[in-house]
Symmetry: C2
Subunit: 87 residues, 2 copies
C-alpha cells in the first residue's frame, strides 16, 4: 500500500480539478475522496498507459505520464484516506 | 438530467460489484455513491464506446453495451443521489 503523506505532497496539482479535499467542484470531474485505493491506482495506471480515452482522459494521460508507480501508489493512498463526504 | 428512480430499477446488476448502496465491497471496483452525475454518465459512455481498457474495463464494456443513453442518464442520476459515505 502507498504512503498517504507522501501522496499528499504530490497532490497539489490534482486539486485544480478534483478539489482540495478530493471533492471535485466541477461535475465533469470525479470525486476522489474515499475512493478505494486499489481502484485509484488502477485508474491512474490505465490513464498513464493510454488505456482510457473519452471524456477528459487526455488531461489525465498527461498528468499520469509524469507519475512513477510509487507516486501512483502514494496518491491512491492519500485520496483513499480522505472522507468521502468531503468533511 | 436523468431519472434516479428509473435508474434504481436498472441498478440491480450493478450491485454485484459496486454494492447495494453504491459502496463497492471489493477494492478493485470503484464506489459510485455520491459521485458526480455528469462524470458517471461520461464514464459509462466511455466504457460503452470501448474507450476504456485496463483494470476491469472489459466487464464494464459488456455491461454498458446493453445500456441506452437514457439508461445511462438514469443510472448516473441514481448513483449520484446516494450518500457518498454509504449511510
Amino acid at each position: 500500500a502507498g504512503d498517504a503523506e507522501a501522496g499528499k505532497a504530490k497532490a497539489a496539482v490534482c486539486a485544480a480539478c478534483h478539489g482540495q479535499n478530493g471533492i471535485a467542484q466541477i461535475p465533469m470531474y470525479p470525486n476522489l475522496a474515499g475512493q478505494h485505493e486499489q481502484y485509484l491506482a488502477s485508474s491512474l495506471k490505465a490513464y498513464k498507459n493510454g488505456q482510457r480515452k473519452g471524456g477528459q482522459a487526455a488531461i489525465m494521460q498527461g498528468q499520469a505520464a509524469a507519475l512513477s508507480d510509487e507516486d501512483i501508489a502514494n496518491l491512491a493512498a492519500y485520496f483513499a484516506s480522505l472522507p468521502a463526504d468531503g468533511e
